[in-house]
């Protein structure tokens, strides 16, 4: 019997994106540049996070025409890269719309203005897979408990500053390492302390990893940033504003793709880091107001 939308099928697509770069794009032209550069997937948006941050106001799901335009442009040029799109935290109707449009992956994203301050989307109800952001293991396991098929660090989107993505990746991998050392009788209390489902805590202790792929996002701007996240345990990298807010997006996009493949080889990294022109200007997260942080959205 054929079964669609099983957890294995959802996680399967996340597995296929490993070792790749998922690039934010806002126009069909950008989507083609990203695909040509070797993006493993594209994230179709109306505005990249740096612009959302600058413009303020309520950030919502993109106009379906923007997403359709990107899907069509890729198909016409025979690129078969998966297309992702963002829904607001808790906005399950936006997610239903994206699923109905044939989007391949939904990002329930803190980059958009949350629609529900208490509850995330029940992602088990969907056939389309979801990715969610997390700053620590408890948050990651809560999202997986709700049905997320992929976790990414939140980092600080639109900042061009990798420090928060590093903090979140180290927090998740550090917590995982600690869990693997715990005796079984401590797991229930650990689940309580993490605010995470017991079964998932037990899985992490036994396997030393999350039950879904663990990617990096939020502030990655250079090939070296991308390789750093891979070295810290990320299995793939999202680049949001970092490509199309830079001076030479096509060259930078290719360089970041190469860096994610050859992240353990500093000679290749040196080669691809040369002559990229200016990176996005960026914002120093340590100088930002608490209220301007996107990463504190979601619970």
């Amino acid at each position: 019997m054929e079964e669609k939308g099983t957890m294995r099928v959802k996680i399967g697509l996340a597995e296929m994106l490993k070792g790749g770069v998922i690039m934010d794009v806002t126009t069909p032209e950008q989507a083609l540049i990203a695909a040509e550069a070797g993006a493993a997937a594209v994230m179709a948006l109306e505005r990249v996070p740096a612009d959302i941050r600058r413009d303020g106001g309520v950030a919502r799901m993109a106009d379906p025409n923007v997403i359709d335009g990107i899907i069509k442009a890729l198909k016409e040029k025979k690129y078969e890269v998966p297309v992702m799109a963002k829904a607001r935290i808790g906005h399950f109707v936006e997610a239903q719309i994206l699923e109905a449009m044939g989007v391949d992956f939904v990002d329930e994203s803190e980059v958009l203005t949350p629609a529900d301050e208490h509850f995330h989307i029940d992602k088990h109800k969907f056939k389309v897979p979801f990715v969610c952001g997390a700053r620590n293991l408890g948050e990651a396991l809560r999202r997986i408990g709700e049905g997320a098929a992929m976790i990414r660090t939140k980092g600080e989107a639109g900042s061009g500053d990798v420090v928060e993505a590093v903090r979140h990746m180290r927090a998740v991998t550090g917590d995982i390492r600690r869990l693997t050392q715990l005796p079984d009788e401590e797991l229930m209390t650990e689940a309580k302390n993490l605010g995470a489902p017991y079964d998932l805590v037990k899985y992490v202790k036994e396997n030393g990893k999350l039950p879904v792929p663990n990617f990096a996002a939020g502030g990655i701007a250079t090939p070296a940033d991308a390789a750093l996240m891979m070295m810290l345990g990320a299995e793939a990298v999202f680049v949001g504003s970092g490509i199309f807010k830079s001076e030479d997006p096509a060259t930078r996009a290719k360089a970041i793709v190469d860096a994610v493949t050859h992240y353990r080889d500093p000679k290749v990294l040196a080669e691809v880091s040369r002559g990229l022109k200016s990176a996005m200007r960026g914002l120093d997260v340590s100088k930002m107001d608490e209220k301007d942080l996107l990463q504190t959205r979601g619970w």
Binding site: M1, E2, E3, K4, G5, T6, R8, V9, I11, G12, L13, E15, M16, L17, K18, G19, G20, A35, E36, A37, G38, A39, A40, A41, K78, Y79, E80, V81, P82, E99, G102, V103, D104, F105, K127, V128, P129, K254, V257, D258, V260, T261, H262, D265
Partner: protein, 199 residues
């Protein structure tokens, strides 16, 4: 049998390496032509075909894999994207680094968007001489074989389309055994393909 590699440019190569190790062989990641020298078999995993094509060309791996294969010193198993790359043609006009080891045409992403991805039981003809084998096949944005040449063996089909095919030293399937706990197909690749390469 020598070591087996998994092409590690992009995709789910780690899962293949795990399966190969469970099937009892030493398995390594392959990112450069030099690393290819140490293996007698290569798994090309699932992933994004445009991404992997560009990286293969940039680092000379398409040429290196083709040379090794044509000299008879390398067996190859392609899954999903890997199947696209080992076949000779795709429907439509794509600039992919296809290796042409199997005389067949594939249509990329033939089942539609991810919500149409599925898992299903298939029956594989006589693997390891054990008679027909039921296998849980996971299809993720899968390609579909639309034509096979005369020399191509069809080992399993799903809904009328070939799902597992072989020619010479090459095996290819449009589904993902590495997403299950079932390593019988990896074992089959080792026993019936990689084992034919002299050490």
């Amino acid at each position: 049998m020598g070591r087996i590699g998994a092409l590690a440019l992009q995709g789910d190569f780690e899962l293949h390496i795990k399966m190969l190790r469970r099937a009892g062989v030493e398995a390594v990641e392959i990112r450069t032509p030099a690393q290819l020298d140490s293996v007698s078999g290569l798994v090309i995993p699932g992933g994004e075909s445009t991404t992997v094509s560009r990286l293969m060309r940039r680092y000379g791996l398409d040429k290196a894999i083709r040379e090794r294969y044509l000299s008879g010193s390398l067996a190859v198993y392609g899954t999903c994207m890997g199947m696209i790359l080992v076949c000779s043609d795709t429907e439509g006009d794509h600039d992919l680094a296809q290796l042409g080891f199997i005389d067949a045409t594939v249509e990329r992403n033939a089942y539609g968007p991810q919500v149409e991805s599925f898992e299903s039981d298939i029956v594989i003809d006589s693997v390891n001489g054990a008679g027909p084998m039921r296998f849980r096949a996971v299809f993720i944005r899968a390609p579909k074989v639309t034509r096979v040449g005369d020399g191509v063996k069809i080992l399993a089909s799903h809904a009328g389309a070939p799902a597992l095919i072989s020619q010479g030293l090459c095996l290819a399937g449009n589904f993902h055994p590495e997403l299950t706990d079932d390593w019988r197909l990896h074992k089959y690749f080792l026993d019936e393909f990689a084992a034919r390469i002299g050490d």
